[in-house]
């Protein structure tokens, strides 16, 4: 990881004005003296009139995620490094990092990019695909414009065909993702796909990807995953220090940035007093049901990824009585739940095994997603399940049948499916649904 640590920390104020929040002991929630409001301790940061963040709060750092990444990528490019755009969590960033290149997430979260995309793409397509493609035709995503290569994969039909259009003008490598996760020959095929990617990267960038370089990248990525997992763990508390919206902010379009790691660590240090003791984990607590308002219903959010710029539904949920304690999607826990074996004899096999286990709805059968949801619902003591579907995302849409069944019949939790896109026209209607859902949750908690 080396040198980047020395220079990119400049925006962090040396004299730390951050006051760690007062820990609330989980065993003795004191509702009378203090009305609990998740996320309060980390809101107080200031911006100067010219927009420079003067306070070294970790959340302020990640609020600036795009400029941070842009500065990092620009420097990397100036140093002769290559930029590789990626669009899915199935792509192992480690291989790209081992090629001394910088993997950058290109998924579009802007509603404004959808109009331009519809000049080529059908209106009835998922907004994530359209927004990503809109950036491509408008040449409006600086990371994509910097990219020397785009690595894509055959996940859903919409993405797969969109990549063909994008490949008309950009160098593109498509990984063929097998879709029967439990077949041994499927994994074998995925391993060979990763070997082809390695060869492509070596050829394109004139480098040799050694096993040791891959292992080094694996260690970096494992560290990042562990840091983000620990942050997510904070939400298991009866009184999490963050909102789900804030936790969602703790991510980066570029993995492995040392400055990010420093901020993850700082965040953990300042919030650590909030972590629920392990001996209380798994206790089915509705203790905050005894609080007077604001009562927050603990939400497990599942379904499609919530990429940067497309956080509208998350904000609606949390401003209408919910607290998203857990997100299992690709911008949440799904990609960071498991690590890659750092000691495997063949690191590419280790990568293939980890990434192939991602429970995306393009897989058939995708029973691993249900297993994870069962586990997370218990770990985070959730009170309801909200399933977010981007309009025209057929695989998640169809799979919602199983999620509803799991939530209502097996877990006994109220379930709400929200199908929407990036435009705000239905915000009031979504608010009505989540409010009604939380009224049901409250009635159950008080019964």
């Amino acid at each position: 990881m080396g040198k980047c640590c020395d220079k990119k920390d400049v925006k962090i104020n040396a004299s730390d004005p951050c006051h760690p929040p007062q820990p609330v002991r989980s065993g003795s929630p004191n509702a009378t003296s203090r009305v609990w409001e998740p996320g309060v301790p980390v809101r107080a940061y200031q911006e100067t009139p010219d927009g420079v963040i003067t306070n070294g709060q970790p959340l302020a750092w990640f609020d600036n995620m795009i400029p941070n990444c842009l500065a990092y990528a620009t420097d990397a490019k100036a140093q002769g490094k290559h930029i590789v755009g990626i669009m899915c969590e199935y792509t192992p960033r480690e291989l790209i990092m081992a090629a001394e290149a910088v993997p950058v997430c290109l998924c579009g979260g802007s509603a404004e990019m959808i109009g331009p995309a519809e000049e080529h793409l059908p209106a009835n397509l998922c907004p994530l695909i359209k927004s990503t493609y809109g950036y491509h035709v408008q040449k409006a995503n600086p990371f994509l414009e910097m990219a020397d290569l785009v690595v894509a994969e055959t996940t859903c039909d919409g993405k797969k065909k969109m990549y063909e259009l994008m490949a008309e003008t950009r160098p593109m490598h498509v990984l063929e993702l097998p879709q029967k996760p439990d077949d041994a020959d499927a994994l074998a095929h995925w391993i060979s796909e990763l070997r082809k990617l390695k060869a492509r990267l070596e050829e394109a960038f004139g480098v040799t990807i050694t096993d040791e370089k891959i292992r080094q990248a694996i260690r970096t990525m494992n560290r990042e995953r562990a840091l983000r997992r620990r942050l997510a763990d904070l939400m298991k508390s009866d009184h999490p220090p963050l909102t789900g919206r804030q936790l969602l902010q703790f991510k980066s379009n570029i993995s492995g940035m040392c400055a990010d790691f420093a901020q993850y660590t700082r965040a953990l240090e300042s919030y650590v007093g909030w972590a629920v003791p392990t001996n209380l984990q798994g206790v089915n607590s509705t203790t905050n049901g005894g609080h007077s308002p604001p009562y927050k219903a603990r939400v497990l959010m599942t379904g499609v990824p919530v990429v940067h710029g497309a956080e509208r539904v998350v904000e609606i949920i949390e401003s209408n009585g919910g607290l998203i304690v857990c997100m299992d999607n690709c911008t949440g826990l799904k990609p960071i739940l498991e690590d890659v074996d750092e000691t495997a004899a063949d690191p590419i096999v280790a990568l293939a095994e980890k990434y192939f286990r991602l429970p995306c709805s393009v897989m058939t059968k995708n029973s691993r997603r249900l297993d994870i949801l069962r586990h997370l619902a218990r770990e985070y003591r959730v009170q309801c399940v909200i399933d977010l579907i981007w309009q025209a995302c057929l695989t998640y849409d169809v799979e919602s049948y199983f999620i509803k069944k799991l939530a209502e019949q097996e877990l006994g939790l109220p379930y709400l499916r929200i199908e929407t896109d990036y435009s705000p026209g239905d915000s009031a209607r979504i608010a009505l649904r989540v409010e009604a859902l939380f009224e049901t949750v409250r009635q159950r908690a008080c019964a």
Binding site: E408, P414, Y415, D426, R429, L432, R433, E435, A447
Partner: protein, 259 residues
Amino acid sequence: MYAGIDAGSRAIKVVLIGEDGPGVVAQGQVDQGVEQDKIACRLLEEVLAQTGVDRSQVCRIVATGYGRNAVSIADTTITEITCHAVGVRQLVPAAMTVIDIGGQDSKLMRLDTNGRVRDFAMNDRCAAGTGRFLEVVADRLGLSLGDLGPMAARSRNPAVISSMCVVFAETEITGLLAAGRACEDIVAGVQTAIAARIVAMAGRNIEAPVIFTGGVARISGMETALQTALGRPIAPAPEPQMTGALGAALLARRQRGSD
């Protein structure tokens, strides 16, 4: 005294109830408008004046409906989903399913044996299957909403309206008129189409008794159309437009002493 105010998309409704008992002290209804906060406030004053109750005797007000957050005199808001369930349960204690069709929404609520909402479904970004659909049709045919029911009842051969979208359905109706189809067949066809949308939204798993609420339940023929589409009996709530406001008033009473 407790008040429920249902600020719906087409009308505002107020229900006033006493300290106990199922009876309604007074109620009122007025068309929705631009300044809905003022309209709601004036309506409440009128209802109070009718019964000689002073404003100070109303100890809690709950607002519901799409305009609930605009009603400044309310102490709190509760969604119409919960309010309709509570209102219907009061009127029909055995109710297990509520179908509510209002001006811009259609909703289906499944209740548990305690009368709590177990699960609900509602229309998305589309007005098909709502009262707005009927308004557009009435307007196109030069009829009032009250004419629709008797007219549909005369149909022997309802037209097939296949468009999912109100705007396209209007075009389709223009086509049907041009082809010489009778108005009664078109109106009956629209009622069938709305019922079909509700069934598609609700799924087949519907437990009886099914109670029909919302302004659209007042239009005769809709109940029969829904009954046919769902394949089970449906009873309109007594005064179906008032159940949301009634539920809000009952919830206000349940919350007594909460602040």
